[in-house]
């Protein structure tokens, strides 16, 4: 399209000369000739070679490009853009706690800054290179000479343009013939029509119209109903020779596609569903007390005490479950549970299934300080760094972590604490994937030790060490706490 404005109707007159083109058979001759032309003062020159020739830019006298500086500026712009963007987004406009990290510019901002620096620089290099070279350029007068076709194969060309300020038709011809080119031709202007042939216009129009067809089909289908069944593109993926749950089969005598477990076996991975060590409560004991409710509990994985309450009360109910008497809990018993008033609670494990040893205490301490202390605090008062930070930011959606020294937590059986760690509670997530069952029990042991440390009395101290504590009785519980920790 751009050819339109620069060209008048020129078919009528003979083509104008644009410059001289010298042909060479190897790059050494080309370099020699280029140096000569450069030394003669010509600057509007160009060389065309089948492969990159080292030193040609120097031989032609091409000045170093300004592109690196443009790219540097673009890179710095990208860097600043990234920093401002992240500062604004994460520090001002939409503050959001992520891993308890500070807002605004942090080390985590560096990768994005790096990426944007590179992105801006790379785009500027490519498009800046194109712009500085005046590309894309669809035609060049030199193309009119059929000899030039060999520039992509085995010939080297040197071109001097007539717009050069020292250009003189005869002196350039003389200069170029003095370097003994294989051939020397005057490049004539391309005076063919600048109008695109009608066939191309027509073809383009047809392509655009054809491109509309899929869109038209989609629109039609979106707007109309059809009685035809769905069109299966991948038939064998939509209809696979396999059975889905609850389907029937002719292979087995009982006609069931789902096979029941072989009596006396436990499927892989199912063992933990039975064992109090992995649950914190004993389902067998619970089912002995009330089989139907135990089935309900194991199917829904819900505390029976919670299940009897409306959903919106579920959270406080869960927190109060241990402390509140069972009879007061149910308000609106669902039909499945029946008489919710006597619904059995989990049969909590009330004795630690691991031994109380120094080793277990150390495991519990390490895991507690790694996973729990960020919210519950090192001493268990619910004053961890995350909690403190959330409180200082006055996030009203934030539920403060429970103090492990609260009365109701103190009264919880060990199995219930284990269950809370395993399944999570309220905003607290499950830690079953981070901690093995044994480690969770070790954490329970450590939590119990923490609780004990706040309620210790002089009888807890070994007799031989009591004398060291007697001067300050009020300080005794503090120092005992320290030793347990």
């Amino acid at each position: 399209m751009s050819e339109h404005k620069s060209t008048k109707s020129i078919e009528s007159r003979p083509p104008k000369a644009c410059g001289w083109m010298a042909e060479f058979t190897n790059e050494h001759d080309l370099l020699d000739a280029a140096r000569k032309v450069r030394d003669a003062g010509y600057t509007k020159t160009d060389a065309f070679t089948p492969f990159p020739v080292h030193g040609i830019d120097h031989a032609l006298g091409i000045k170093p490009t300004i592109l690196p500086f443009i790219v540097l500026c673009a890179g710095l712009t990208g860097l600043c853009t990234a920093l401002v963007m992240q500062f604004w987004m994460n520090g001002v406009d939409y503050k959001y706690i992520i891993s308890g990290k500070p807002f605004g510019i942090t080390p985590a901002s560096i990768p994005v800054s790096f990426e944007l620096t590179i992105l801006f620089s790379a785009f500027t290099s490519v498009f800046g290179m194109l712009a500085l070279n005046g590309l894309p350029k669809f035609s060049n007068p030199i193309f009119t000479n059929p000899k030039f076709d060999r520039a992509t194969n085995d010939r080297f060309f040197l071109y001097v343009d007539s717009t050069d300020k020292y250009y003189n038709r005869d002196s350039v011809r003389e200069l170029l013939s003095s370097v003994h080119p294989t051939s020397l031709d005057e490049v004539m202007e391309d005076n063919s029509s600048v109008h695109m042939p009608k066939a191309i216009w027509l073809g383009a129009l047809l392509l655009v119209l054809a491109g509309l067809i899929p869109a038209a089909i989609v629109l039609n289908m979106r707007a109309s109903d059809s009685d035809l069944p769905r069109w299966h593109v991948f038939f064998d993926m939509d209809f696979q020779p396999k059975k889905k749950p609850q389907q029937s089969t002719t292979i087995f005598a009982d006609g069931r596609a789902m096979r029941p477990a072989v009596p006396g076996t436990i499927s892989r991975g199912q063992l933990e569903e039975q064992d109090p060590f992995y649950l914190g409560h004993d389902p067998l004991k619970m089912s002995l007390a009330d089989y139907r409710k135990a089935v309900f509990v194991s199917a829904t994985d819900q505390d029976p005490a919670d299940a009897t309450k409306p959903a919106e009360e579920a959270k406080p109910a869960a927190q109060d479950a241990a402390a509140a008497p069972a009879a007061s809990a149910p308000v609106n018993p669902p039909a499945v549970v029946g008489d919710g008033g006597t619904a059995p609670k989990y049969a909590w494990v009330d004795k630690l299934p691991i031994e109380v040893t120094e080793e277990h205490m150390q495991i519990g301490k390490t895991k507690y300080e790694t996973y729990c202390s960020s919210c519950h605090g090192y001493s268990g008062f619910g004053d961890g760094l995350v909690a403190k930070r959330a409180a200082s930011l006055l996030q009203d959606t934030w539920t403060p972590p429970t103090s492990l020294h609260a009365d109701r937590v103190q009264k919880q059986p060990v199995g219930q604490i284990f269950h809370t760690i395993s399944k999570g509670q309220g905003k607290m997530a499950s830690y079953a994937s981070s901690l093995s069952a044994k480690e969770r029990w070790a954490v329970v042991l450590y939590v119990k030790a923490l609780q004990r440390s706040r309620n210790a009395n002089i009888e807890d101290v070994p007799v031989e060490q009591r004398s060291s504590l007697t001067p300050s009785v009020s300080g005794a519980s503090e120092s005992t706490g320290a030793t347990v920790k």
Binding site: H58, I62, P68, P107
Partner: protein, 415 residues
């Protein structure tokens, strides 16, 4: 193809040949002076003999790593030239080969650290006295038998043997070619450089774990070997630039090492400044984000007790300033400009090694650090003495390497 040249122009200047014993003596004296200085000024915060010994042991290791990493950079440079079948580097390759040949000598410099282990001292490596170790993590590493003096020594011998053997073999082929001018040694080196790089990567990584990372054996970083490698490569290019320039000032190898070679070495130095920053930051980011106590202790030590000025200082000194300083090709093609940045890079490399090692010896204390610096100068002199000893009897350019003409006509694109 043989080139006409003056044999004297590719030999070490006469005056330099006699420098080796002087430099060794001076270097040893300076290390001793550094030790005496830290003894006099007190090692760490408390002025006990144990603290002083601890300070000196750490200082010795930091200064040793300062020169060791340069020698390893030279070895890698040689290997990678043959993996890439590079032509441009032929005229500077011998300087790198000579730097690489210092590795067997550096084993001697490393020996005191081994001796210290067998003297049952834990000044440097806490794990050497299991009875005084409290951390269960370190205990576990001792119990599996990894951090024990015997196995540590065996590994150190293995590393030095592998590096020296590779260096010896590549140097031998290079010297063979000096006689024959045959392409055979080049092809042999191209064939074996690949496997050697794999051995190099593994051994350098483990050496970095053993020698530097295990001074804080609680902590671990899988990228640590790459960190040491990146820092060493950067310092190696600075060293090669400075040696090439000094030789030219003394009237040697003038036509053989051109602006194009300095430009290329400058590019590599610039690249490894960036690569060091990339690795150092990658290591920091993961520990900062994870924020797990046992992983952040290494940074905790380095961001307290006065070391924070060094830690934060490395960001501009080791990255931002030299990065912007060497980003321009005009600087890299300018002798004085390039020399300035090469010296800068060597200084910050020393600071970087100090940053890696010294904080584990105790809080920052200015006066003993002067002793540490003097020791570093001494170590550098000993290193240069090793280089000169080998360089006195070797031509400085592989004149009969078939790729030398390629190196001499090589030109960077004008851009």
């Amino acid at each position: 193809m043989s080139l006409k040249y003056d044999p004297k122009s590719i030999q070490l200047p006469e005056r330099w040949k006699s420098l080796t014993p002087i430099l060794v003596a001076l270097g040893v004296i300076l290390v001793a002076v550094g030790f005496a200085f830290s003894l006099f000024a007190g090692g760490g915060a408390e002025n006990s003999s144990e603290a002083t010994m601890k300070f000196f042991a750490h200082s010795y290791l930091a200064n040793f790593m300062f020169v060791m990493s340069i020698a390893l950079g030279a070895l890698f440079f040689i290997l990678v030239q043959f993996v890439a079948r590079a032509g441009w580097s032929t005229s500077v390759r011998r300087i790198a080969e000579l730097l690489m040949q210092t590795i067997p000598f550096l084993a001697v410099v490393f020996a005191p650290i081994i001796i210290m282990l067998f003297a049952n001292m834990d000044s440097l490596y806490e794990w050497n006295r299991p009875d005084r170790v409290h951390s269960s993590v370190i205990k576990a590493k001792i119990d599996v038998g990894y951090l024990t003096k015997e196995w540590f020594t065996l590994r150190a011998i293995l590393y030095f043997t592998l590096w020296s053997a590779m260096g010896w073999w590549f140097f031998k082929r290079s010297r063979e070619q000096d006689e024959s001018g045959d392409i055979g040694p080049s092809l042999a080196r191209q064939k074996w450089a690949g496997p050697c790089i794999m051995i190099f990567a593994l051994s350098v990584s483990f050496a970095a774990f053993d020698w530097v990372m295990s001074i804080d054996a609680d902590w671990f970083s899988t990228i640590f070997g790459v960190y040491i490698f990146a820092a060493g490569m950067m310092a190696f290019f600075a060293t090669m630039i400075l040696i090439s320039m000094s030789l030219q000032r003394a009237g040697k190898v003038r036509e053989l090492i051109t602006t194009e070679h300095f430009h290329d070495m400058g590019k590599f130095m610039f690249g490894f400044i960036m690569f060091w920053s990339y690795i150092a930051f990658s290591q920091l980011l993961l520990y900062w984000y994870g924020n797990i106590p046992e992983e952040t202790n290494w940074y905790l030590v380095r961001l307290n007790d006065g070391w924070q000025y060094l830690a934060y200082g490395l960001i501009p000194l080791h990255f931002a300033i030299p990065f912007l300083g060497t980003i321009s090709r005009h600087v890299r093609r300018h002798r004085a400009g390039l020399a300035f940045w090469a010296v800068w890079v060597l200084v910050v490399h020393w600071l970087d090694m100090t940053f890696l090692v010294m904080p584990n010896a105790g809080p920052f204390n200015f006066m003993p650090m002067v002793g540490h610096f003097v020791g570093g100068l001494g170590m550098l002199m000993v290193f240069l003495a090793f280089f000169l000893a080998k360089a006195s009897v070797t031509p400085l350019v592989p004149m009969r390497d078939p790729r030398l003409p390629e190196a001499l006509t090589y030109a960077n694109p004008l851009l």
